[in-house]
């Protein structure tokens, strides 16, 4: 028997999740507004001390991105689990890992990518220079897929568990720490004139590692959750 086309299936899952998100825009917009508001609260709270703002900017933006991603993790698999779609995915002739990868990519397109694109605008409130803003965007572009990949494992492990939302934070936030350190570190290094290349390379290494193990671990966790 001819196997199903894997790239076509991957594309179909991504298109499906984007279509579903377009039909229910509030979910995506909640994440974005959360990010915008949390980041904007800091300049208001700290006051117009430019040096201070510049110093806290990388940390604030990255922590806000982390929390915004956490907010969106719960709905990654929950709806599909509730209506039986996840069961059908597990029984598909397409390997579950491919479908899961598609869902994670769609999650990133709907959470990580918009966050990275919004970040430079929000970074202006912190008086960051153009060069640092560019480093911030690059670090978020490399770092947020790692957040989606690790988060998917947590979301799959807590699937169907009562109070899964809190549990997923406890489970996933510690794993986000390295990404936070090197993501925010990249921007800090650029601000102090050290150059961000080393931090960005390490972030990219995390991404490679997470891209390799993430979908596999998520698939195993989902099969356990379905049993």
């Amino acid at each position: 028997m001819d196997g199903p086309s894997l790239p076509a299936a991957l594309g179909a899952v991504i298109r499906r999740d984007l279509l579903l998100a377009m039909r229910r825009k509030s979910d995506v917009l909640t994440t974005l507004f959360f990010f915008i508001i949390v980041v904007s609260l800091f300049p208001l709270g700290v006051g117009p001390e430019m040096a201070m703002l510049r110093q806290i900017a990388p940390g604030v933006l990255w922590v806000a991105a982390l929390l915004a991603t956490m907010l969106s993790l719960n709905r990654l698999f929950a709806a599909d689990h509730a209506d039986g779609t996840l069961e059908q995915m597990a029984l598909s002739a397409v390997p579950l890992g491919v479908l899961v990868t598609g869902k994670v990519i769609a999650h990133w397109l709907l959470s990580g990518l918009p966050l990275a694109l919004l970040a430079p605008v929000l970074g202006l409130q912190f008086d960051l220079a153009a060069g640092s803003l560019a480093v911030l965007v690059v670090s978020l572009l490399i770092g947020t897929p790692v957040l989606s990949l690790i988060g998917a494992v947590g979301a799959a492990l807590t699937l169907g568990v009562r109070g899964g939302g809190v549990l997923v934070s406890l489970l996933v936030l510690p794993l986000y720490v390295p990404v936070l350190i090197f993501g925010a570190g990249a921007v800090e290094a650029d601000l102090t004139g050290l150059g961000a290349t080393a931090h960005l390379s390490l972030l990219a290494a995390f991404l490679a590692l997470a891209a390799f193990f993430g979908p596999w671990a998520t698939t195993v966790a989902l099969r356990i959750a379905l049993e």
């Binding site: 299936a9 179909a12 499906r16 039909r23 039986g84 779609t85 059908q88 002739a93 397409v94």
Partner: protein
């Protein structure tokens, strides 16, 4: 063919059934009966590979289904209690997308044709949210017509269906069996099937 040997199902500390064996040849249908909580759905989920039996083994064409993995899933169609119908998508999108996710993409014309055959003419472009329970069930069952699979595992397929839809569904199952397909199903209602090779399995 599908073969189960000495299956045991344990829920908590209770054994729901044990030493359950059967064979299902091409063109045959197995009707699983039993009271609520007797393990019908558990058995069906085992046959799909969604759950593992505490004891025993399930084989497809002589090979254990665990080993066959995707090769077995490519022959299998499972329709469970949850219909996998998305509220925010139209009936047509639901039919096409579930076929694509199953690894067997279909074009729009055949998806429309399948929905029409199940009595959803004129409802194809409505979001599933506004459909009735029976209509949503029909959307879920459109997969039977769209995905060419040899083994159908149907858990209470008649739920929420009206008389006309039951007749249509029985016709679809009969046609499937006549062309050498296999079916395992549970139902609390009588299924007026014309096929003569129907085995019954009682779980108590």
């Amino acid at each position: 063919m599908l073969e189960a040997s000495n299956l045991e199902c344990v829920r908590g500390e209770k054994s729901l059934f044990r030493d359950l064996s059967f064979r299902l040849e091409a063109g045959a249908c197995l009707m699983v009966q039993g009271a609520n909580g007797s393990g019908k759905t558990s058995l069906l989920r085992m046959l799909c590979g969604l759950a593992q039996p505490a004891q025993g083994e399930i084989r497809w064409g002589g090979e254990p289904i665990r080993k066959l993995a995707e090769d077995y899933r490519g022959e299998l169609l499972y329709c469970g209690h949850a219909g996998a119908v998305k509220d925010d998508l139209t009936a047509l999108e639901n039919a096409q997308i579930s076929a694509t996710l199953a690894g067997a993409p279909v074009d729009e014309a055949s998806a429309r044709q399948a929905l029409r055959q199940l009595g959803l003419k004129g409802r194809e472009d409505l979001p599933a949210r506004v459909l009735s329970a029976g209509q949503r069930r029909r959307v879920a069952l459109s997969r039977l017509l769209l995905e060419k699979r040899r083994l159908w595992v149907l858990d209470e397929p008649l739920t929420a269906l009206d008389k006309a839809a039951v007749t249509t569904l029985c016709g679809v199952i009969d046609a499937h069996l006549a062309t050498g397909g296999m079916a395992v199903l549970t139902s609390h209602q009588d299924l007026p099937l014309a096929a003569d090779r129907i085995a019954h399995l009682r779980l108590d």
